[in-house]
């Protein structure tokens, strides 16, 4: 076999390995988009239930009205979920879809924290969301999620510092502690994503090599069969 034919065969294997890897990752992303479409819808309903449980009414003396949180849960919660669901259904596997989903997921966390009256337990939703976003095996999605959380605090800190009082105030060390743990989780998951992609690449390469070997064997057997048939004819 000449050097050129070996090189061509290697290029074909590399190309096929890349195709197999991209198809495999696309399949993972499409499946994860579908998962998040369902999750987003579920979170929307859950947010409404949280609002109805924690703050169903606002009061003025003995007069009660539906609390603003309920409307916020219905309308804002619906808006948060709408585009991620739409893109997951119409553009599954598109790289922008998963970044929109990451942003929407973190905003859903923020809204749930608001609706539950800032309960510390609701903050665990943020960590759960990071774990789910790692299903994409794309570390950049985790960067988007972290950035949305940071921008949320930044805008509020500038426009309405009262709403993040304690962040700018004497408890700022506590926020840094929260940021540290978020980064701790995000970095760990990002490393896991990179390792997972590395394993997927390896599997794709192995698959491409097996395909090439099988194709070579098939060609060889075809030639032998043809020669045998010609000899008997």
């Amino acid at each position: 076999m000449s050097t050129d034919s070996v090189s061509a065969a290697t290029d074909a294997i590399v190309r096929r390995a890349r195709e197999r890897f991209e198809a495999s990752w696309h399949h993972v992303c499409v499946a994860t988009d579908g998962f998040f479409a369902k999750l987003m819808f579920g979170q929307w309903i859950f947010g409404i239930l949280v609002a109805l449980t924690f703050s169903p009414y606002g009061w003025e003396g003995k007069v009660r009205n539906v609390h603003l949180h309920v409307w916020i849960a219905v309308v804002l919660g619906g808006v948060i979920a709408s585009l991620p669901i739409l893109l997951a259904l119409k553009r599954p596997g598109w790289v922008v879809t998963r970044h929109v989903i990451a942003a929407g997921q973190m905003l859903a966390s923020g809204l749930l924290i608001h609706l539950s009256g800032g309960r510390i337990e609701t903050h665990f939703h943020v960590f759960g969301s990071f774990g789910f976003l790692a299903f994409y095996r794309d570390w950049r999605v985790l960067v988007t999620a972290s950035a949305v959380t940071a921008i949320d605090h930044l805008i509020r800190g500038i426009a309405w510092p009262e709403s993040v009082y304690g962040i700018l105030g004497p408890e700022s060390w506590r926020v840094l502690e929260h940021v540290f743990w978020v980064l701790f989780a995000a970095i760990g998951l990002a490393v896991s994503c990179l390792r997972s992609l590395g394993e997927m690449r390896l599997i794709a390469e192995r698959g491409a090599e097996i395909e090439a070997l099988a194709e070579g064997e098939w060609r060889k057997s075809s030639v032998v069969d043809r020669v045998g048939m010609e000899a008997t004819a």
Binding site: F54, S55, Y57, G58, W59, E60, G61, K62, V63, R64, H67, L68, I72, V75, L76, V79, I80, S82, L83, L86, L87, K90, R91, W94, V96, V100, L107, G110, L111, H114, G117, G118, D152, R156, A159, W160, E162, S163, Y165, G166, G169, P170, E171
Partner: protein, 215 residues
């Protein structure tokens, strides 16, 4: 309708609209959280016509509360922390609104139960908000601190935003006043439901300044 008929860029247009809608929605939510209730107008001394008995010999904190107001959960949580921090230097009375025609279910709230479970805290009913009117409190969560002679030391809220627990200027100022005798003049708006119908005037911020024995 097939979205692709709108052209290849429909997704980007949708993302732009989505971001704008989210910005508006969260702005409404944040604005609501940091908009205080009506400030009321407490006088400089414990009202003589009040039927609430002032505990003798030590400062007293009065908090006016609407038993159904969800924002007041955070105010009561902060009240509990403040009380623990001051370790008996302060008598605490929570005055729950009770409209004259309210049914029995009115008093069955988690806030009333929470106060009942707080040791050393007295809960009293305020029939038709008469005491709130005497003390000049208009918003649930409004705290008033009087010294042992009945002079007003502090008027304001204990939370930094609506329903938000955590470090807030009001609780910090009360603690400073009672431990060091001094406190800064930062405003302490009250975040909570209106105690009377028609009093939920947005932007009527309590001055929160030290009253009476200002130091």
């Amino acid at each position: 309708m097939r979205l692709d008929r709108l052209g290849g860029n429909w997704a980007w247009l949708a993302i732009a609209l989505w971001a704008a809608a989210l910005g508006g929605g969260f702005a409404i939510l944040w604005r609501y959280e940091i908009t205080p209730g009506a400030g009321g107008g407490p006088g400089g001394r414990w009202p003589a016509e009040s039927s609430i008995v002032r505990p003798p010999g030590r400062p007293v904190l009065l908090m006016f509360a609407h038993p159904q107001c969800v924002c007041t959960r955070a105010s009561l949580a902060e009240l509990g922390r403040l009380k623990d921090r001051l370790e008996g230097r302060l008598a605490v009375i929570v005055v729950f609104l009770r409209p004259a025609d309210a049914d029995e279910a009115w008093d069955r709230s988690d806030l009333v139960a929470r106060v009942a479970a707080m040791p050393g805290v007295t809960a009293v009913r305020d029939l038709d908000g008469r005491e709130a009117a005497r003390f000049g409190a208009a918003t649930s969560g409004h705290a008033l601190v009087y010294d042992a002679q009945g002079a007003l030391l502090f008027s304001g809220g204990l939370t930094a935003a609506r329903g938000r627990e955590g470090e807030a200027p009001g609780a910090r100022r009360i603690a400073a006043l009672l431990t060091t005798g001094r406190a800064d003049g930062t405003a302490s708006p009250v975040f909570g439901c209106a105690l009377r119908h028609g009093e939920a005037v947005e932007g009527d911020v309590l001055d929160g300044g030290l009253k009476g024995k200002s130091r």
